[in-house]
């Protein structure tokens, strides 16, 4: 193992890790928005919205994320969508994870006992009041863990933007292999940094989950 080389390249990797973190945060936020909208659509009273939601989930979960990234980045300009690689990567990944989060959020809402809705509606609360004051507060607690699983997948999934040259961890590792011919060291550094990010986020989610437990 070439420790000298590692010491020379690691500042570049730290910078790349920062890009990976930014990608992850933005993707997660966009994913949560898409997931919330998707779940609302899937559970709408109107068939059109339910249909749109179902199509979104099945198309985006039914095709490789890499293809979705390529379509947006390479195919986008053809239909007038001009994005730089970071933007295209973030949007494609965010919308992709949003499809998974749609199902997570919907599942959490559906797993709240039906008696809760009945009790609230019986008191005279509207559908929306019931959702906001009774169902969502309970569903929010139930969805922390499964959303954590989605976020874990999303962080690892950010590696998929390397092929469109976003200078994140995987891309950086590949670039240095080109000049150093040391794939073992390069991928090891990248892997370790991913692990640190995932470890920290995982702990954050556990902490949130513990705090949100109903007493």
């Amino acid at each position: 193992m070439d420790t000298d080389l590692i010491l020379r390249v690691y500042p570049f990797f730290l910078e790349a890790a920062w890009v990976t973190i930014q990608l992850s945060v933005l993707t997660a936020l966009l994913g949560l928005c898409c997931g919330a909208l998707g779940a609302a659509a899937r559970m709408s009273r109107l068939a059109v919205f339910r249909w749109i939601g179902a199509v979104y989930v099945s198309l985006w979960r039914g095709t490789p994320a890499l293809i979705q990234i390529f379509i947006l980045y390479f195919g986008g300009p053809q239909i007038g969508i001009q994005l730089d690689s970071f933007e295209a990567g973030t949007i494609a990944l965010g919308v992709n994870i949003g499809a998974y989060m749609t199902e997570t959020i919907r599942g959490a809402i559906l797993s709240v006992d039906k008696g809760q809705t009945e009790a609230a509606r019986t008191l005279g609360m509207s559908r929306w009041e019931t959702m906001r004051k009774v169902i969502l507060p309970q569903a929010a607690r139930l969805m922390i863990r499964p959303l954590g699983v989605n976020i874990n997948a999303l962080i690892k999934g950010t590696a998929l933007v390397a092929p469109i040259s976003v200078v994140e961890l995987t891309y950086t590792a590949q670039r240095f292999i080109g000049s150093t011919y040391k794939p073992f060291e390069m991928f090891l550094i990248a892997g370790l940094l991913y692990m640190v990010i995932i470890y920290v986020v995982g702990h954050g989610i556990n902490w949130l989950d513990r705090r949100a437990r109903i007493t």
């Binding site: 006992d113 008696g115 809760q116 009945e118 009790a119 609230a120 509606r121 019986t122 008191l123 005279g124 609360m125 509207s126 559908r127 009041e129 004051k133 009774v134 507060p137 309970q138 607690r141 109903i214 007493t215």
Partner: protein
């Protein structure tokens, strides 16, 4: 409408898909009356109760409360607004309590009144204290439901329903999920409501309770009301064979 009783159910029928659950049910309840509904499992008791507040809307027939038709056919938006309004007047207590686990006892009681009647925090608190005192649970006001016994949960659920100042209370086997030693405390609260002349419709498997508290008893079987009358008649000299069979099984215990 002047000839109508307080609660009136006319020619009620209900199907779930092909399954006919209620057939040609007629029921009138006067203000302050207490009616028990008894009958074997699956006879449609819960469905009838849940039809009164539109939780399980009837397929055909009418439900009226104090001159207002509950199950009006209206365009969706108006229907929702109408139902949300009339439900405020109909309290319901469930077998499994259905307390809101994320809210304290106080929160459970004040949620709907503050939201729907615009009570101030102070008024809502006073209301919660008043209702809890009635069910004998003043000291539990800041507890979460998970810290209460089944009997206490059900009493809070009753207080929550009463906080909306309903005109009628519906009970669907309020004591069936309770350990035997916790049944009495809930029955006591219901008896107390009876003394205050609350109009109540009570689905129950407890024949003794029905006999001691109710003005009238309805016996249902297979979606129809087989017979109804004062408890003295239904329990002591029922007309129908089906009623006698049912009571033989339930009174012998």
């Amino acid at each position: 409408m002047t000839d109508q009783a307080f609660v009136t159910i006319k020619n009620a029928a209900k199907s779930f898909g092909k399954l006919e659950v209620l057939r040609d049910i007629n029921l009138t309840v006067e203000r302050g009356q207490i009616v028990a509904i008894i009958g074997p499992s699956g006879s449609g008791k819960s469905t009838l109760l849940r039809a009164i507040n539109e939780l399980d809307p009837l397929t055909s027939g009418e439900v009226w409360l104090e001159g207002v038709q509950i199950n009006k056919k209206l365009p969706h938006r108006q229907y929702e607004a109408h139902v949300n309004q009339v439900r405020q007047d109909i309290g319901m207590v469930f077998q499994h309590f259905n307390l809101f686990p994320h809210l304290t006892v106080r929160g459970n009681i004040t949620l709907a009144p503050t939201m729907l009647k615009g009570l101030s925090d102070a008024d809502a608190n006073a209301l919660a204290e008043e209702q809890l005192a009635k069910v004998g649970l003043s000291e539990k006001i800041d507890e979460y439901p998970s810290r209460l016994s089944g009997g206490q949960k059900q009493r809070v659920a009753i207080a929550r329903a009463l906080a909306m100042k309903p005109k009628v209370m519906l009970f669907d086997e309020a004591t069936s999920a309770l350990d035997p030693e916790l049944v009495d405390e809930v029955n006591l609260v219901m008896k107390q409501l009876a003394e205050e002349h609350m109009t109540m419709i009570i689905v129950t498997h407890e024949m003794d309770f029905a006999a001691s508290v109710c003005d009238r008893v309805l016996f249902m079987d297979q979606g129809v009301v087989v017979e109804e009358g004062p408890p003295s008649v239904i329990f002591e000299k029922p007309e129908h064979e089906r009623t006698r069979n049912f009571l033989r099984k339930h009174l012998s215990r």
